[in-house]
Amino acid sequence: MTKYPTEQLKCWNKAKEIRENFYKNYATAKDKGGIRWAGGAWSFGAIPAGLGDDVYMITGEPYGASVAWNKDFAVECQEAAEKAGFARDLCAYMRNYWGSMILDKYAFGGKFPKPDFIWQDHICCSHAKWYQVVSEYEKVPMFCTDVSTGPYSELNESRLKYVVDQLHEGILWLEKVSGRKYNDQKLIDAVYSECEATATWAEVCVLNKTIPAPLDEKTMYSLYVLGTLMKHSPIVRDFYKELRDEVKDRVKRGIAAVPNERCRVMSDTQPPWAFLKVFRYLEKFGCVSIGSLYTFGLIGMWEDKPDLPAPRPGKFFVYAIKCDDDSIYIGQTDDLPRRWQEHLEGTAADWTSSHKPVSIVHYEEYSTREKAVKREQDLKTGFGRKWLIREIEAGRARQAGGTWGPKTTPQQKGIKIKTRDEALRVIADWTLSRPEYQHFYDPALKSAMMVRIAKEWKLNGVMLHYNRGCEGLSLGIAENRLAIQKAGFPVMTFEGNMGDEREFDEGRTMTRIDTFMETLGLNKLED
């Protein structure tokens, strides 16, 4: 029973080509007189871009996953790492990378290319250690930025400065190790590009709220990966824009990823890369995995959207904006989304240009401009303000917003980056808001995001991968399970390892999926 039409993504081959070129360019960088750096997928990739257009990188996590995908080579790498004395329970990506380096074999053919320097950040327990080993083994210098500044909601000036200062120092270090003069304009371009690329990926993920989902998670892995390779690159930015337009078109035409979709789930953390067939197996039950916090929030950048009503003839709005000093600004308009954007850009009112607007905490609709103006004046009185604050505190205000959507980029906010310092501040702030950073501080932050995905993407259940290969992203996952269950969503768990297939039991995992599908009331539609 096929319910929905389906078709292959038109930009699929382009995604493959970008990935292939990335690894090829890294290997051949020296033939072109270029620079090679190694570091994590989460590192501040936009910054070395200031060294020139011939700077090529290899990001460790996707490389480790590429190794995992080739089962025979993966075991060879893991055994080489173990033989060198590294314990089997360490990060599987790291072991795959180390093994490949020790064997001097590149997953894409030839010898393992040696980087000129290492540019890394440190959020998870393995990040800095991974590249300390590489730095000592390859005898190349390393710079590591510490980003452990606490949850984004608690970011303040001194915390931001802590990261920005390290990045300033990093640029001086880059000039020294490369012998090149740093170009601030290239940095600014890369920062703009990264913000746009990562917000556009979130836009693609939002489109998957549609029933039927235009994308399935297995396909998304091949697309989000480009952001893990070079999220600051205009190549990725342009590809994500093309992808977004194509997915929008799929939504418009009702094209489904899984033609018999009747059940929607999400996963979590990296999958066991050598066994992506798990996702194809789900399709036998008419089940689509629409993504995960991992696929959405590792590269995608998000925020609460105001979800404002579209302007309509004969509709006028009175609204209250909460500013960053907790002050309340009250105004009226016939076009709430446009007015909100103007407030964000600082062009709507003196008050909101000097006091950063946070959100629209209340709005009301009126049929005439006069009624709206009258109400605005009433609310601006002492009595009106008191009433409004009481309503907001009691949760009775008609709050706008609440759904998760792409983070507004600096360019959308009209921010013009002119200096190195401004660029570093923008990219530091942008990076620290990354959803997948937040659970390092408190699993409840991750649970809240997962539950909102489950609700907003209309899920029937959740499949959690207890991923032994990644201490970082598996941290607190058992807590997440309880929170998701409490929110009313059935959860199944399976154990495995993203990069070390020796710890994955395929038969039992498939049986577990059978059981989970039975508990959701689903039988196999095909065998």
Binding site: V491, D505, R508, T511, R512, D514, T515, E518, T519
Partner: protein
């Protein structure tokens, strides 16, 4: 309507015939190397015992690790397959409608199942790539102690000293048992330590899904009094329900599901 449920377990095969809401026959056999042949033999025996023919059986549901062996495969040709968790829940609720938590310990797998009043599975946990939480663990330990597995239960009930066994893994636990033997630890104390170790693993799995009364223990290991004693102690419950047909519950569940599969 007569239906059959077959549980192709890792060690034994259980078959139940079901007619108009009642069990009319059951049989159990060791699976051995050729599970399909063993199932066919047991099925034939059961038909002879109950004076029935294959044609009289309208639907056959199969569960258990080896279910692919007879699913759509003649002569048994089971026409429906179901997972162990769903079959266990249905079978247990048939025998004990008050059951909300089901603990099933078979030869190779331990399972914790939480269900609602309709037998719908709300949550479940299954042991991972490890046999330490399953029946075969006690058999291996019995061999190390040179005690028949059926005598291990009574022996452990005689224990007066709690000896800790730290190993989580069946392989390491065996070497720990050997060390205890060499340290002249009383056999009954080692037997209890073995049951405590497996019960600890099972309980931690059951707690993951939340233990709600009534708790029912099913699976072959429920015949082991020593394990039952350890499980009750560690779960801190007095009333652990064990159906007389504990080994057949999966097959009963499958037979019931077959009767609904019109």
């Amino acid at each position: 309507m007569i239906t059959a449920g077959v549980d192709m377990g890792a060690k034994t095969i259980k078959i139940v015939l079901f007619k108009d809401g009642k069990i009319i026959g059951k049989n159990i056999i060791l699976g051995g190397f050729d599970q399909r042949a063993a199932a066919e033999k047991a099925f034939h025996e059961l038909l002879t015992q109950t004076k029935r023919t294959r044609n009289e059986i309208e639907h056959i549901s199969v569960t258990g690790m080896g279910r692919k062996e007879i699913y759509l495969h003649p002569p048994i040709s089971a026409d429906h397959e179901v997972t162990e968790v769903t079959a266990d829940a249905r079978g247990t609720l048939y025998l004990h409608p008050s059951a909300r938590t089901i603990i099933d310990v078979g030869a190779e797998e331990g399972r914790g199942i939480k269900c609602d009043a309709n037998g719908k599975v709300v949550d479940f946990a299954v042991n991972e790539k490890c046999a330490a939480g399953a029946g075969s663990f006690t058999e291996a330990m019995g061999r190390a102690l040179e005690v028949k597995v059926e005598d291990l239960g009574d022996l452990s009930l005689k224990s007066t000293n709690a000896v800790a066994m730290n190993a989580q893994c069946a392989v390491f636990a065996e070497s720990e048992v050997v060390s205890l033997i060499h340290a002249k630890t009383a056999k009954q104390d080692i037997a209890r330590a073995i049951h405590d170790a497996i019960a600890n693993r099972i309980v931690s799995m059951a707690r993951r899904i939340g233990v709600e009364k009534d708790v029912v223990l099913i699976g072959g290991i429920s015949k082991n009094k020593g394990f039952v004693d350890s499980l009750k102690r560690i779960l801190e419950i007095d009333n652990l329900l064990i159906p007389a047909e504990a080994e057949y519950v999966g097959a009963i569940g499958a037979a019931i599901i077959a009767s609904e599969n019109r």
